[in-house]
Symmetry: C2
Subunit: 297 residues, 2 copies
């Protein structure tokens, strides 16, 4: 029977296990996690069928291995999984938000970037964390980026691509560096801004929250994310993030001067450009999939 080895039973991994099993991709899921209580809970919840006592036991006989561990642990975990798999042809894939640093780190390992490893980044998430927030529909209608290297086995790439599509995702194969630069702009910078903005309310928040309307609620929602996870993501993509941040800071400084000087036309031009770009986004002009929309409610 087709078997999935799931390394890390958090939100992302557990949701994949539920979705892939429902789609018929696997009959059996073996889990491993550094947190024994999470492993027990995922077992009781029917997300995994059994828990393994070691990495070797977890991947033995697996037809695919999902490495769903925190970003900073992905390279070492992928290397260990590939070593343990031996002659098996099972593909290995991850769910990290930054791709090039993982591949670069693996290339410094003996044997280099494993041919069976397919770097993946699903653009999905939820407000909750852990297996308790797992959702079989998390990846449905979501974009999943695959960033193979020149070393990547085309058969492994095709197998992982098929698994994500079975979960309802729209896959796209793209260069890792281009991916990392793009998500610095669309995901990493907004999280940095939301955390920094929200931190302003640490001191006198309770007095100010009474002045917060629905716009505040939506704008700050991503500041509810996991601080350790986002610290890792931003640091691993630091070059692109710092470039995006520097560009925005320069534009904010110019806007501050325009407001001080009362330059109406300057302000309005920026606001019109922003409003128009938001409309383009919301109208869902997309060339290649995900139902022609960007998850706009």
């Amino acid at each position: 029977v087709p078997r999935l080895a799931l390394i890390g039973v958090g939100l992302m991994g557990a949701s994949f296990a539920l979705a892939a099993r429902r789609a018929g991709a696997f009959d059996r899921v073996v889990g491993l996690d550094v947190d024994p209580s999470a492993l027990d809970g995922a077992c009781s919840a029917g997300i995994i069928d059994s828990s393994a006592a070691s990495l070797e036991a977890a991947v033995e006989g697996a037809d695919a291995v999902l490495v769903a561990v925190p970003p900073s642990e992905i390279p070492a975990c992928v290397a260990a999984v590939c070593a343990a798999l031996g002659p098996s042809s099972a593909p290995v894939f991850d769910v990290g938000s930054v791709k090039a640093p993982v591949m670069t780190a693996l290339r410094t390992h003996p044997g280099g970037l494993p041919a069976r490893f397919v770097p993946c980044h699903p653009m999905a998430g939820a407000e909750g964390q852990g297996y308790g927030a797992a959702d079989a529909t998390l990846y449905r209608q979501r974009r999943v980026f695959l960033t193979p290297g020149r070393e990547t086995d085309p058969a492994a790439l095709a197998a992982v691509d098929r698994l994500w599509r079975m979960c309802g995702a729209a896959t796209r194969i793209i260069d890792a560096d281009a991916h990392d630069r793009a998500v610095a702009a669309t995901s990493h910078l907004p999280h940095l801004l939301a955390f920094a903005y929200m931190a302003r309310f640490a001191a006198d928040g309770h007095a100010l929250f009474d002045f917060a309307g629905p716009g505040f609620r939506d704008f700050t929602r991503i500041a509810g994310g996991d601080p350790g996870l986002w610290r890792d993501i931003l640091l691993s993509n630091r070059t692109a993030v710092v470039a995006e941040l520097g560009d925005l800071v320069r534009r904010l400084e110019a806007l501050g001067e325009a407001i001080s000087d009362g330059r109406e036309a300057t302000l309005e031009a920026v606001f019109v450009a922003g409003r128009d770009a938001r409309r383009d986004y919301a109208s869902g002009r997309i060339e290649d999939g995900v139902g022609g929309r960007h998850g706009v409610a």
Copy 2:
């Protein structure tokens, strides 16, 4: 029969008319607008009963007058309405987002700040604009700030407070300067950030929107607002907005340096502070109303 004079049949004014009539506050609504087609449309939609040919005709016999015009036009419109009302005791109120500049401008008029004028700011809005987006429930469970001056007639204040409460709103009386400083932090700065951030996608947005997930969608929603309206709001509250912006820019610059230097603890401390403040907000700790929540879905 109690009559409301509605000057400006946009989203805010039309929603108030629907809500107040449903609550039994008025039997008749007379409308006035610079846009004849909006006036006809609001009449056909049953939002107003009739349209007036002049300001004098609109307010004649009115029991209350809502001035729901663009921010920059509020002082002149309030002054004209009060002059036209003559000896009537009808209260006059507005729905502008910035309060102190309106009151300061009115104090330079002959007669000063009218005693019958009650400055108001409802923390409500919608993605749509105009009377077509009007919603009788727009103000339900929403905070409405009232910022009377020392000149304000207590009877007018009480009457307007009662009207908002009849529409389901939770009113709060507060000093205008304190109000303006608070909304600079909770509303005006986020809008400025969202417009500036989104303007970055004016050039190469279509290539990048494929990398945008649900976080991007929520973070940028307020960039869909009216550019001219937000230009007016930010400029009329410029001192407080520039102070908030300057503080944020300094903190973003420090974060950029921390990312460049790989200072994990510095980053995580800010992210934890932001995440904790967001949790406090979401848990809805509020001393005085609106159902103990801040409109968190």
